[in-house]
């Protein structure tokens, strides 16, 4: 039974105006196979949490820990974290000119498994996953995310999720910018990955509509750099109706 634990996490970011405190004591435990939705206003620190888990160098952890099955994640480099089983589907996936999707996927798979995948089954897996995500096979020969639409970038993230088979995935607004059809296709991909591998999921979103397709076990309300409230799926419906007003978000993480 795998578990990802975030304990009393405090994170700063260096800006031109000096150091800013963004996360102010986040506690969160995700077990294998669980889906945790994180909802919160703009600027509350959701992406900061996602990036910090993945190890983005811009964010400095000043207090607290992140443990993956008891192992100290904060001591690992970005690629070590990925190889340990963490995955981040980014809110804004990066374009990599000159590197084709095929080449990128094979390189990543080889790095994560520690050996090159057998060619025949790999080609079949890639083709099947692309088909499931309704991605034209032509994408395989295009450069990673270059010229992809917003929705295509998000599908490409989920394609990687399916093929790389991590233990825990953070999905940062994977639903933003998707039309209903794409939302369904992407949600199916996430659900498939969970069914196949017992993936644990941290799902960051602004909208409840994705929660119709990906059913959360827990919902956390994120305000001003920490979790202000948590509950079951019903909490999401309440947020949809009432917004974040009752959490006094007039002054977010800004000071």
């Amino acid at each position: 039974m795998s578990v990802l634990e975030i304990k009393n996490l405090h994170v700063n970011v260096e800006t031109d105006q000096g150091t800013r405190e963004i996360l102010r004591g986040v506690d969160l435990t995700i077990n294998e196979g669980e889906i945790h939705a994180v909802m919160g206003p703009n600027g509350s620190g959701k992406s900061t949490l996602a990036y910090t888990i993945a190890g983005h160098p811009k964010y400095t952890v000043v207090e607290g820990e992140i443990l993956l099955d008891g192992e100290n994640v904060l001591e690992m480099s970005v690629d070590e974290r990925a190889r340990a089983g963490l995955f981040l589907a980014m809110q804004y996936p990066v374009e990599i000119p000159g590197v084709t999707v095929t080449n990128f996927l094979r390189t990543a798979k080889t790095a994560i498994d520690g050996q090159a995948p057998s060619i025949r089954s790999w080609v079949k897996d890639v083709r099947e996953s692309m088909g499931n995500l309704r991605m034209d096979t032509a994408f395989a020969e295009r450069n990673v995310n270059e010229g992809f639409s917003g929705g295509e970038k998000k599908r490409n993230e989920i394609l990687q999720l399916e093929l790389l088979k991590p233990r825990f995935a953070v999905l940062d607004e994977t639903d933003s910018g998707l039309d209903v059809d794409a939302l369904k296709v992407v949600s199916e991909g996430v659900n498939r990955a969970k069914a196949n591998t017992g993936l644990g999921i941290l799902l960051i979103t602004h909208y409840t509509r994705i929660l119709r397709y990906i059913k959360p076990d827990f919902v956390h309300v994120f305000v001003a750099g920490r979790i202000a409230e948590q509950g079951g799926p019903e909490l999401a419906d309440r947020l949809e109706e009432e917004g974040y007003d009752r959490y006094h978000v007039a002054e977010p993480a800004a000071q």
Binding site: A54, G55, H56, P57, S77, V78, D79, R81, A82, R83, F87, L88, M90, P93, V94, E95, I96, P97, G98, V99, N103, F104, T107, A108, A111, I112, N143, Q160, L164
Partner: protein, 393 residues
């Protein structure tokens, strides 16, 4: 991509006059057409490093080539065989010599004044073919050379001019592309770390002919290859490509000139380089002149540099001079960027270790040029040569 360690795109003191062009702001113009030309070294004043054509170069590192005495004997040359490509040595007096262009700097004039015989690479026949001419181990004494690559009308070939081993070489290469011919010339510099190579290439493109010219500079202390193309007749087309990988202490330079001098000519200039290590330098100057006669010209030039470490310097200076209003399009772009840390993060977040992620991105950046060579074997060999450069970090 954002800031470079250092990047210049400033007009030189010799540039004057302003003309609008189709791509963005007004650029300073260098009246390239009026530049001095001569085959006699004595017609050029001794090089100080202040001249517009030398201002970016480490002139003290090769004073022997610009003002010393050069050995004009035949170079040691080996070549692969291909039906329809004949190599021979021709005397200085041969009428083909001087038909493609004349020296514009003192090193080129010095070489022209002293070479004994010229190597002629004569291409005939419409079948596609590849020939590799290798100059290897030219020693450490200063030498001069002259080469004429002549593609007969409607002929077709890929000619690789390759340099390996030691060299202190000043040379001129003339490329004469006959009517309707389709020629690719790859100038491949893989010299040793101490070598100095100063080359001027002159191409003349006849009616409806096409030249693909590719400069690949990997090895050598100072390598300066200046290709100049004269689109002399209607319908001519030049694709000028370049690829360089500058390591610590290396100076790799290319001054690219395209002269549109007839109606409906086309040019595409694409040079890409990577810089890595203390004192790694690159210089790219791209001059495009669209003359009075060149109505319907279609031209675009670009230079991109990828800066991999601190302590490097990439100079990138595009110039466009347009003498006719009736053109199809002309533009330029120049960018020098740092290695993008967000790309690195993305790749690492997929489990790819940092050094491999870097290699993946740089390889991708440079592959764009390699893939246009059109010879699978050479493309593969160049990719592994680039791989070796990257490993050497």
């Amino acid at each position: 991509m954002t800031v470079a360690t250092q990047s210049t795109a400033m007009p030189t003191a010799e540039q004057h006059g302003f003309r609008p062009h189709s791509d963005g702001p007004i650029v300073p113009v260098q009246t390239r057409s009026e530049r001095f030309r001569s085959t006699a070294v004595a017609d050029f004043a001794p090089v100080t490093g202040r001249e517009h054509e030398w201002k970016y170069s480490p002139v003290a590192a090769f004073a022997d080539l610009t003002s010393g005495e050069l050995d004009g004997a035949r170079l040691e040359v080996t070549s692969t065989d291909a039906a329809g490509v004949a190599l021979s040595w021709i005397p200085r007096e041969d009428e083909r010599i001087g038909t493609a262009g004349l020296p514009e700097d003192r090193a080129a004039a010095n070489a022209w004044s002293t070479f004994g015989e010229a190597l002629l690479v004569a291409v005939t026949g419409e079948d596609a073919k590849t020939v590799t001419v290798t100059r290897s181990g030219l020693g450490s004494a200063p030498r001069a050379a002259h080469t004429v690559i002549e593609a007969a009308p409607n002929s077709r070939a890929l000619v690789v001019l390759r340099g390996t081993g030691d060299a202190r070489l000043a040379e001129n290469v003339e490329i004469v592309v006959g009517e309707g011919a389709n020629l690719t010339v790859v100038s491949l510099q893989e010299w040793t770390d101490e070598s100095v190579h100063l080359a001027s290439h002159f191409a003349r493109i006849a009616r409806d002919a096409k030249l693909k010219h590719i400069v690949v500079s990997l090895g050598g202390k100072v390598v300066r290859v200046n290709p100049s193309t004269h689109l002399a007749e209607q319908g001519g087309d030049v694709e000028a490509l370049g690829l360089y990988f500058s390591d610590a202490g290396q100076h790799l330079e290319q001054q690219v000139f395209v002269h549109h001098d007839a109606p409906h000519t086309r040019s595409r200039v694409t040079y890409k380089g990577a810089l890595q290590g203390e004192g790694a330098r690159s210089v790219w100057i791209g001059d495009v002149l669209i003359g009075n006669a060149a109505t319907g010209t279609d031209s675009y030039e670009q230079n991109r540099n990828l800066v991999l470490t601190d302590g490097t310097r990439a100079d990138s200076v595009p110039n466009l001079e347009i003498e006719t209003g009736d053109i199809e399009g002309a533009g330029h772009a120049s960018a020098t960027g740092r290695f993008d840390d967000e790309q690195l993060f993305y790749l690492q977040a997929r489990g790819i270790p940092e050094d491999e992620a870097r290699r993946l991105v740089v390889r991708g950046f440079l592959a764009e040029v390699v893939q246009q060579i059109g010879d699978a074997e050479l493309e593969e060999r160049l990719m592994s040569a680039l791989e070796a450069e990257l490993q050497g970090s």
